[in-house]
Amino acid sequence: MRRIVSILLENQPGALSRVVGLFSQRNYNINSLTVAPTDDPTLSRLTITTIGDDRKIEQIIKHLNKIVDVAKLVDLTEGSHIERELLLIKVKATGAQRAEVKRVADIFRGDVVDVTPTMYTIQLTGTSEKLDGFIQALDGTTILEVARSGASGVARGEKILSL
């Protein structure tokens, strides 16, 4: 099952490598990883999406908690949550396809952020599933380049991950 784990991590040199190293060392998967400092510059927020059964996820969370640099963490998928990912995609847009690509982008509420006579760069945000859907919908066209940020998320309502 896909899980989203959000982590508050000390913004220290080497801290990120401890988190990433744990996954490879214990044979866990990282599907995506986002990281950036929070409003408190001494803390980074990481979001990791991973796949595993309950037992594996429990182990991952326990081991993450053991890392000294990990201040706090939450499994967002345990409750209702909001997740967003950013996609930048370059698509060939010539001839009849030019209009079709634009139309599909509009349906998914994507924005064309860069244009040349032969291609579009489209920006799209949403759940990872929505981005997957958009890429699938562009199946008939020539995709030149895909850059995805990986999912980032917060819990719904008043639940807060902070120190």
């Binding site: 080497g14 490598s17 190293g21 908690n65 000294v68 640099d69 706090k72």
Partner: protein, 573 residues
């Protein structure tokens, strides 16, 4: 005002460290000069950095205080890795200080540069790279706090050479507390869970207490003994837990696991309630298929590390906390409990266990004539030392024989590499133990394979005048490898023998300034052992020729339940 190098040594002293193990080199020369200029912190020069870590490790296991290591950058640091990994697997508190190239050369592939933080990352509890000299006192404080609290483990402090420059001085103040907002190990167990566990424990019909290294390292042996004796339940110890419950007590059923006693493994397999405390259901205990592990048992698991709980075997009642407060609370609740232990069921359980005991799975069949069985050497060692020595061990058959036949009545007396299984551990570990307890009897049980992995430490023993007794079970082969090759590879001894190229250990010991004794006949075993241990001021290398064909039994059958064992070359359960 102090330089970075002086601050480091001063901080170690303020932390209560009076002895460190190390080996100098370019990146730590400022620090070595700081050591030279004071007399509070003593330094032991080893002959290889791996040995420094094992010596510090042995010191930590025997005393409970953290071991401290100082090595240079590059090869000094990488040589220390095996010892750091050994300490990590067995949760030993240790602080390893490694030199690093100067800050402006980091990343430039400078001479003797290694990314120590990166290389050590999977085998440390935490690590620090010191960015500026002013940080040294707080980093040292935090390193010791992390190494010694919670589930203990090794911590690396990597210090660039220019940070310890004697030309730059700074104000020094040692912090009283280590403030780490993201680190808070548990300080007590959950009372509700403890209550639940005690109730199950007291209602058990066929209980067993399975205790591990955590009880030794957490100083819980006395409380565990009290609890077990109050309940009257059988106790088994893991390899790491030997000594946590007195081995000569009637409630002790022996070590469990791959080479555990028949009665310990049978009791585990048949138990209805298992109180696992400070033990981690290691694969050498559970055997490879955990689905067959103790099928009828309700498992109560006490561990300071939440990640150790339900990692391989699911715990029915998990209790996260240090052993001492958890055991105290358990004892209180047992004393206050209204539940009456079912004495009839317990008596029937003991009867069953005694029946298993009658099988006498550790009986030694003497060989023909003067051939010495390795087990007989440990029995003689036990007798000659009155069972009261510190025994360090290497890894292999001799380690198992020592665990099986030296009956440890006290914690911290049995010092071996259980988790990583590091050959070469025994002699340097004995160095650490003997330095911690100069008047104690310290024996290193080893084999001719393991001892050669850190034999150079005979020089350290000479320099420090350490009267260690080395008991070398010399079977002219890598015995445990050979045993597996006998049992699983049709007796094809691929690269496990070297009888034609062994050194003369007596002459070797003598060349290092020690005494060497060779024992070849059973009739002279005890007498010569006595002779060796009567030499109080010298290291004695006792090279004992033992039966090369002996196997360690009992031995768990791969993939089986705990009740499935080979009991000899011809019998199985």
């Amino acid at each position: 005002m102090l330089s970075g190098g002086d601050m480091l040594i001063r901080a170690l002293h303020d932390e209560g460290v009076d002895l460190i193990f190390g080996y100098p080199g370019g990146a730590v020369l400022h620090i070595y000069d700081a050591i030279f200029n004071q007399d509070k912190v003593d330094h032991v020069l080893v002959r290889h950095e791996q040995a420094a870590t094992h010596a510090a490790d042995g010191y930590a296991r025997a005393t409970g205080r953290p071991g401290v290591v100082l090595v240079t950058s590059g090869p000094g640091a990488t040589n220390a890795i095996t010892g750091i990994a050994t300490a990590y697997m067995d949760s030993i508190p240790m602080v390893v200080i490694s030199g690093q190239v100067t800050r402006d050369s980091i990343g430039l592939d400078a001479f003797q540069e290694t990314d120590m933080i990166g290389v050590s990352r999977p085998v440390v509890k935490h690590s620090f790279m010191v960015q500026k000299a002013e940080d040294i006192p707080m980093v040292v404080k935090q390193a010791f706090h992390i190494a010694t609290s919670g589930r203990p483990g090794p911590v690396v402090i990597d210090i660039p050479k220019d940070v310890t420059d004697p030309g730059e001085t700074f104000p020094y103040e040692y912090p009283e507390t280590a403030k780490i907002r993201s680190y808070s190990p548990p300080t007590k167990g959950h009372s509700g869970q403890i209550k639940k566990a005690v109730e199950i424990l007291m209602n058990a019909k066929k209980p067993i207490i399975y205790s591990g290294g955590g009880v030794v390292m957490g100083d819980g042996a006395e409380l565990l003994t009290k609890l077990a004796q109050k309940l009257g339940y059988p106790v088994t110890n893991t390899l790491m837990g030997l000594g946590a419950y007195p081995a000569t007590d009637k409630q002790f059923v022996g070590m469990l696991g791959m080479h555990g006693t028949y009665e310990a493994n049978m009791s585990m397999n048949d138990a209805d309630v298992i109180l696992a405390i400070g033990a981690r259901f290691d694969d050498r205990v559970t055997n490879s298929d955990v689905s067959k592990f103790c099928p009828d048992a309700t498992i109560l698991h006490v561990d300071i590390d939440p990640a150790a709980i339900s990692k391989t075997v699911t715990a029915h009642v998990p209790i996260v906390g240090p052993v001492v407060p958890v055991l105290e609370e358990m004892l209180e609740q047992v004393n206050a409990s209204k539940v009456q232990i079912d004495e009839e069921a317990l008596a029937a359980w003991w009867k069953k266990i005694d029946h298993w005991r009658e099988r006498d799975s550790l009986a030694v069949t003497p060989a023909e004539g003067e051939v010495i069985k390795p087990q007989q050497v440990i029995q003689a060692l036990y007798k000659v030392t009155n069972g009261d020595a510190y025994i360090t061990s290497d890894v292999g058959q001799h380690q198992m024989f020592a665990a099986q036949y030296y009956h440890f009545d006290k914690p911290r007396r049995w010092i071996n590499s259980g988790g990583l299984g590091t050959m070469g551990f025994g002699l340097p570990a004995a160095v650490g133990v003997q330095l911690a307890f100069p008047d104690a009897i310290v024996a290193c049980v080893t084999g001719e394979g393991s001892i050669q992995m850190n034999i150079q430490e005979l020089a350290t023993c000479n320099q420090c005048a350490l009267p260690i007794k080395i008991v070398n079970l010399n079977n002219e082969a890598l015995g445990m490898v050979k045993q597996w090759q006998d049992m699983q590879y049709g007796g094809r001894h691929s690269h496990s023998t070297y009888a034609d190229s062994l050194p003369d250990f007596v002459a070797l010991a003598e060349s290092y300034g020690h005494v060497g004794i060779r024992i070849e006949k059973l009739s002279e075993l005890e007498e010569k052992m006595k002779e060796a241990f009567a030499i109080k001021d010298k290291l004695v290398f006792i090279d004992v020729c033992v039966d090369p064909n002996e196997h360690v039994y009992p031995m768990a059958i791969k993939g089986g339940a705990m009740s499935e064992m080979f009991l000899s070359k011809t019998e199985r359960t």
